[in-house]
């Protein structure tokens, strides 16, 4: 799906007073809405994906669809227009620690390559230290949390560019 095509579609909508377009073609789905007070929402530009994608943090109105503990999730982040990003999200509520001890180096830093099953942080819940492992192989692109901060369930912690 080239952006050019979408632009043309949008122009067509405007010129012809269309309020909605949806095109599904195999793996590709384009949905455009216009007017009636609603903004144009080019919501899902989803690509085929290895990991079961969920929409945490981007849940539209209505019910959350993710019902299983989502650990890694694809995200259409603004910072990643080119390459698709994966998120590592908190699997439980608690306090996050970025290093095994106050004096140690952090588990991971931006730019680090990570493997599946590599520990990326610790979440303390009820005095128990839970090691959180990545479920994706790739490179840490962004760290979204700070050492000692509280995190809630499914809160994004790391952006990873998958290999």
């Amino acid at each position: 799906m080239e952006l050019e095509k979408i632009k043309e579609l949008v122009d067509m909508m405007k010129a012809n007073d269309l309020s909605e377009i949806e095109i599904v073609d195999g793996q590709t789905r384009i949905m455009l809405k216009r007017g009636a007070g609603q903004q144009i929402t080019p919501q899902v530009l989803a690509m085929p994906s290895v990991v079961s994608p969920s929409v945490n943090g981007f849940i539209p109105n209505g019910l959350a669809s993710a019902e299983t503990s989502p650990h890694v999730t694809q995200t259409p982040s603004q910072d990643s227009k080119q390459k698709k990003m994966a998120e590592i999200v908190a699997p439980l509520v608690g306090t996050i620690y970025m290093a095994p001890s106050p004096s140690s180096d952090p588990f991971v830093q931006v730019g680090d390559p990570i493997d599946e099953d590599q520990v990326v942080c610790i979440i303390e819940a009820m005095k128990v230290m839970n090691e959180i492992k990545s479920e994706v192989k790739g490179t840490i692109k962004e760290i979204l949390v700070k050492n000692g901060q509280a995190v809630e369930y499914a809160q994004p912690m790391f952006l990873v560019e998958p290999d």
Binding site: N56, I59, N61, G62, L63, A64, A66, E67, T68, S69, L92, V93, G94, T95, A125, M126, V128, A150, E152, Y153, A154, Q155
Partner: protein
């Protein structure tokens, strides 16, 4: 008073607790599952924490996640609401260990009253009448059959650890009894991991009358009179009212005093409800104690003018009851209708989905407790209660008239609700006469 508490519940009761807290100047942290992420009531909280996915076991029933949320948000107390962990003594214990106040009774009195056999014995001790039945638990079919013969059929078999109608069977003769005993045992073992059963005389066409209690940490106990919850469908209350149209003032006083004796004997603290069954001859028997705030608490608030939720918070914070028994009056009549997202025309099937149109009743004498609104999505994951409509008027006929007009104003579309059923019940001559019992709905609809 606490400066910040956590609310470990959802929906209308979470909103009810938020309201009390806001009025008391207490900050609220509300935990939620992903299914409730977009619920509007969360905007009323000072903080919200997502604790897990929709399944209750991974969110609202998950003790470690809730405690962890309480720790990171640094609250002084947890209010469990009703349902979920509200009557879980272990949860209360964990709170205690973590130095977080549990807004409810102590784990000990929850355990004591949660065990139905122990509670029966306690009632006997406190000179509160109990239905004829087994002294303690009943070991086997033989023992049950012998006892049933002695007290006379019908009898009811209940699980000691029971609740919500599970592990419960009614038997009208010995053949019935033997199979019922076996089934109840299996069910109790599965549901409560405790197969202990006991047996009682089953009261036919009984009324369900319960007494609201408040008890502080200094041992002061007051009652806030009774609620009549006889209108039930499959052990689920549908309409509640206070005062009970079945009681005269003597019996009312007696019942309420019995309830106070019982909770005093249990060293009970905070809000609680003592349930009784009332037979056709107006004899009452202790049934059980609910160690939490009840769904139907608003009708008591309306006639007494006392905010029960605020008192739950004050008591847990160590304040003493400033209410004197003689100042607590029943003024007028209050009725509550539970509005469930269920289809009465279709076997009461739950009707989850998005509410497109929501026109709520209002005006003089009308109170609405709901977290729903146009645009709200009812999750199929949780119970179907979407609101409680309460009216308060000087007399019972006026209260009935007010409730009818309020129900007629209430439009929820396109999902089906129990509004229509409630209207039919309120229009039934038996209801006007106050001549109903726990079997009335099932016999009539």
């Amino acid at each position: 008073m606490f400066s910040k508490i956590l609310i470990a519940n959802r929906g209308e009761i979470a909103l009810r607790i938020i309201r009390a807290c806001r009025e008391l100047g207490v900050q609220t942290v509300v935990v939620y599952s992903e299914a409730d992420r977009n619920a509007a009531y969360l905007h009323q909280a000072d903080e919200t924490i997502c604790i897990g996915p929709a399944e209750p076991a991974e969110s609202y029933l998950n003790i470690p996640r809730i405690i962890s949320a309480a720790e990171i948000s640094n609250v002084e107390a947890i209010h469990p609401g009703y349902g979920f962990l509200a009557e879980n003594a272990h949860f209360a214990e964990v709170c205690q260990e973590c130095k977080i106040a549990f807004i409810g009774p102590s784990p000990e009195s929850m355990r004591l009253l949660g065990d139905k056999v122990q509670a029966r014995n306690l009632a006997k001790h406190a000179k509160v009448q109990i239905a004829p039945g087994s002294e303690g638990s009943v070991e086997n079919e033989e023992e049950a059959a012998k006892l049933a013969e002695k007290i006379g059929y019908p009898v009811i078999i209940k699980a000691s650890a029971g609740g919500g109608g599970r592990g419960m069977r009614i038997a009208h003769n010995e053949v019935n009894l033997r199979s019922a005993f076996h089934n109840a045992q299996t069910e109790a073992a599965t549901a409560f991991k405790n197969s202990e059963l006991y047996l009682e005389k089953y009261l036919e066409q009984a009324r369900h009358v319960e007494v609201q209690i408040l008890a502080d940490q200094a041992g002061n106990v007051v009652h806030l009179w009774e609620r009549d919850c006889s209108l039930q469908r499959r052990h689920q209350k549908v309409i509640e009212e206070t005062p009970s149209p079945a009681l005269d003032n003597n019996l009312r006083e007696e019942l309420c005093k019995a309830a106070v004796r019982l909770v005093k004997a249990a060293n009970y603290v905070n809000a609680g409800t003592v349930e009784f069954l009332l037979d056709k001859k107006m004899k009452y028997y202790f049934s059980e104690v609910n160690t939490r705030i009840q769904v139907e608490h608003p009708i008591t608030e309306m006639v007494t003018g006392i905010d029960l939720l605020k008192w739950q918070l004050r008591i847990a914070a160590g304040e003493h009851l400033k209410l004197r028994q003689r100042d607590i009056k029943q003024q007028g009549v209050a009725i509550e209708c539970r509005i469930n997202a269920e289809d009465p025309a279709n076997g009461f099937q739950p009707c989850p989905g998005r509410i497109e149109r929501f026109i709520s009743p209002g005006g003089f004498g009308v109170r609405l407790d709901t977290h729903a609104h146009a645009g709200y999505v009812i999750s199929p994951r949780y119970d179907s209660l979407i609101g409680k409509l309460i009216v308060h008027q000087k007399t019972r006929p006026e209260a009935i008239a007010c409730m009818k007009r309020a129900l007629q104003e209430f439009h929820i579309e396109p999902i089906k609700t129990t509004i229509s059923l409630c209207l039919e019940i309120l229009s039934h001559p038996q209801f006007s006469k106050g001549k109903i019992d726990t079997g009335f709905i099932e016999r009539t609809w």
